[in-house]
Amino acid sequence: MLLSTVLLPLLAGGALAEHTSNWAVLVSTSRFWFNYRHLANVLSLYRTVKRLGIPDSQIILMLPDDMACNPRNAFPGTVYNNADRALDLYGDNIEVDYRGYEVTVENFIRLMTDRVSEDMPRSKRLLTDDRSNILVYMTGHGGNEFLKFQDAEEISAFDLADAFEQMWEKKRYHEMLFMIDTCQANTMYSKFYSPNILATGSSEIDQSSYSHHADNDVGVAVIDRYTYYNLDFLETQVREPTSKLTMGDLFDSYDDEKIHSHPGIRYDLFHGGEAAARSRLVMDFFGNVQNVEVEGQARRNETEWEEDLLAIEKMIAEAKRRHNESLNTQPLPSHLVEEADAQDTKQTVRKEGAFRVDEDAGWAKQIIGAVALLGCVGIWAAGSWLDV
């Protein structure tokens, strides 16, 4: 009993341990030229998190269309998020992970739950663990509890909530910030039920999310309001990775008058509730700050170390010699034999897989098809005969 009272606070501390990596999943879900602003939203955020230190290998960028190379783009090869066109978002150092028709609901859910095929490159996977903070930013056209993908399909709030639950169960995140800029955005996070998610959206149910301004030369709106004011805060206030501004500061900067809709924030899932969520640093989600451990200077004894290495080498040589001897005298240890067996069975399984697509199966299908066809003809013939 005494033990548990001593330990409980410590264990609680363990659950709140610091994160060691930051990941960002930035998703635009709409195609076509007139949705230029959604891609600009995502690219702006991409640029910001990269500036604050998240490496490209830890940013998953999903762009369903290529605005930079769109024939209607008066400024080929560029994407701007402001009419002053001071900053080319496309630049020369951008890594798009999912592009064009790869941006689907299925791929998004596969990405989040890591149910991808074996040949998926590591750069396109979300390789997070229980020490990773994830920023999920989505933008596109949405409605009550859904978000359209490419005008062809939609992801529902339930799917999203289930995907996040699977991530939580598999310990794939430490804390998550979910941001969404779409019409009726706040409905998208209303179904979440997994812990440690801090969610924010641009507009309430039955509210639209508006664009900020259009660039007359580009010819379309270039950024959405909610994203614009988030970026405004991140770019003007969070100047360097050492920034100590908190999520509370970011949320307080939201101004309904300017955004033209009511941004929502959901604290209840977060461990420690509103107070804890608000006290998280902006850099905990938008940057990549780790507590480095600085080592002292020149306290090492090089000669001693070299002796150590020699001794280790000798030790290994000795171990190898003994291992070889034991191999000569003893049969294989049981686990090795088992592994070999396992490999054998694997191979046979593979063979089965190969048989499935070979000629016989194909013929069988064709025969079934032919029989079905003949059957139909027979029924028709019988019917017409009966008719007569």
Partner: protein, 560 residues
């Protein structure tokens, strides 16, 4: 309603003489056509029920293989396996008669058991065969029921008792490169046959307790953080130890069967443009990597990047007059790696990448140090290490020689050990390795078990997810490996336990991340109605109406 009228009227038509009066009405339906119509309706229904319904059922059903959900949950709750770590400690006492040795062993064991607060981790002493007196060893071996095979890898530590005449006794010395503890004693320190304690026994027990203190703390921490079920029998950890262990676990990489090491040389100018990295790695690092081969494998690559600038968002180094050096503030260090432009993390191969960055500053900014403590290297938890190499001469050499790289390699080697989670004590390297083996085996068992639990919960919770047979097979294999691993742990065969735990982990991952288990689309009920109604409505309405009409025509007829 027309059908009822028709039904009522039809029997009346049966008398032929009334027919001429009723010319305005439809002609009577013959029994033949009545039955034909019924047959048609029935055959339509038969097709719908016998063919359509099963087909609909078959094509929309989600295949869910049977999973042993209860067993999976039990594993996750720690009910199936309580990991214990019985360590065998062999005592070699070639000069002692067997009786005395036995007695010493028993008293030491008593003293040990009194000291030990952590029941899952206990040390078992035993006498071992020594080359000088094979007779004794023979008896001892049979006495303890241990086969001859236990004499190499399964013994965690062997104690050599060496009688001496001079010097402070009892004293002990741990061999740095062998799992051996030398204990020096004088004869009068042996326990007399009647007593239950002696200074020698107590001293050995304390020494052993000290040697395994960190391992016990590590395991206790692991048990306490991963599963609530074990907390009861846990050794109490002082808050200080707990924070230290937490820091260690934050720092150490997650276990992987293969790690990829990347050594990168970054310089803001054009020199140095080459380094003798291959021979340096061969010389300074490969012995270490090889010694880890029982736990993990490593692949290594290296790169040189010239003209690598700092990220624009970190503060530029400042010149410190007192230190006579350029300095970086500690809080800027985490932004030192210019992640946006430096090509790190090559995303090749399997397994996580560990980065080691050697930065040679520009001559105008050399030497470059950390402001707070004047150090030149730091470790980034779960990522890798960084070292700033300030060239000794005023001119930066174009090629860094093997010897110039030695301090950097030393630092990287230390960082690597720390990142791999190797404990800092005891002083004997093989002992620390075997400690790591046990800790990794336990953590893999926990992680595979918790994956099983997660899979079981998700299967119960998300009913729209398909569960193919491969998942069931992987689950079975995971649990078999877990059980074997747990049994081997109990037997004290830790290498086998680690291998089974590793297999269990990879099978568990395979089961959880099965590709086809994507609960892709959630359909709310209104969606289902919206999909089915336009499809089935036009078909169902005539079917149902016709059936109702026929039923009504049949039922009153019977009543009458």
């Amino acid at each position: 309603m027309p059908p009822s009228r028709g039904a009522d009227a039809s029997p009346a038509f049966s008398t032929p003489d009334q027919v001429p009066k009723m010319t305005a009405k439809t002609p009577p339906e013959s029994t033949e056509s009545l039955w034909l119509r019924r047959c048609v309706i029935m055959s339509f229904w038969a097709v719908a029920i016998c063919l359509g319904l099963p087909m609909w059922w078959k094509t929309t059903a989600i295949y869910r293989a049977e999973l042993p959900l209860q067993a999976m949950t039990d594993w996750a709750d720690g009910k199936m396996c309580k990991p214990v770590f019985p360590l065998r400690i062999a005592i070699e006492a070639p000069t002692l008669p067997e009786q005395d040795a036995q007695h010493l062993l028993q008293t030491t064991q008593h003293a040990l058991d009194d000291l030990n607060e952590f029941s899952a981790h206990h040390l078992r002493l035993m006498l071992t065969e020594s080359p000088l007196t094979p007779n004794i060893s023979q008896q001892v071996v049979t006495h303890h029921g241990l086969g001859t095979r236990s004499n190499d890898e399964d013994i965690a530590l062997s104690i050599r008792l060496i009688p001496v005449e001079t010097g402070a006794t009892p004293r002990s010395q741990l061999q740095p490169y062998a799992p051996t503890l030398d204990v020096y004693y004088t004869h009068n320190q042996l326990p007399p046959p009647s007593s239950t304690s002696s200074p020698l026994a107590t001293s050995i027990a304390h020494e052993l307790d000290k040697i395994f203190a960190e391992e016990q703390a590590l395991l206790a921490y692991l048990l306490s953080t991963t599963s609530g079920a074990h907390a009861a029998k846990m050794k109490s950890l002082s808050p200080g130890t707990f924070t230290e262990l937490e820091r260690q676990s934050t720092r150490a990489l997650k276990y992987a069967p293969t790690y990829h090491l990347t050594f990168s040389l970054f310089t803001p100018t054009s020199v140095p443009s080459a380094w003798e990295i291959e021979s340096a790695l061969q010389r300074y690092l490969s012995p270490l990597l090889e010694s880890f081969s029982a736990i993990s494998n490593f692949t290594v690559d290296s790169q040189v990047q010239l003209y690598a600038g700092f990220s624009p968002s970190i503060r530029a180094p400042e010149y410190d007059e007192a230190m006579q050096a350029w300095t970086l503030r500690k809080e800027d260090l985490s932004g030192f790696i210019n992640a946006a432009e430096w090509p790190l993390s090559p995303s090749i191969g399997h397994g996580p990448t560990v980065n080691f960055v050697l930065y040679v500053p520009d001559q105008s900014q050399s030497p470059l140090l950390v402001k707070e403590n004047g150090g030149n290297s730091w470790l980034v938890p779960q990522w890798g290490g960084v070292l700033i190499l300030n060239p000794a001469s005023s001119q930066t050499p174009t090629t860094l020689t093997k010897d110039a790289l030695a301090p950097a390699m030393h630092s990287f080697a230390d960082q690597l050990l720390s990142l791999l989670g190797l404990p800092q004590s005891p002083a004997s390297f093989p002992l620390r390795l075997s400690t790591l083996k046990r800790v990794r085996a336990a953590s893999l068992i926990f992680s595979a078990s918790s994956t099983m639990g997660a899979l079981a919960r998700l299967t119960r919770q998300l009913e729209s997810i398909p569960v193919p047979d491969t998942v069931a097979r992987s689950v079975d294999s995971t649990m078999a490996h877990l059980q074997q691993s747990c049994d081997l742990l109990r037997d004290g065969r830790f290498q086998g336990a680690l291998e089974h735990a590793r297999n269990a982990e990879s099978e568990a991952e395979k089961a959880f991340f099965e590709r086809s288990m994507v609960g892709q689309v959630y359909f709310p009920d209104e969606h289902k109605v919206a999909v089915y109604l336009p499809l089935l409505g036009p078909v169902a309405v005539p079917l149902i109406m016709a059936a109702l009409k026929e039923l009504k025509s049949v039922l009153p007829g019977r009543r009458r």
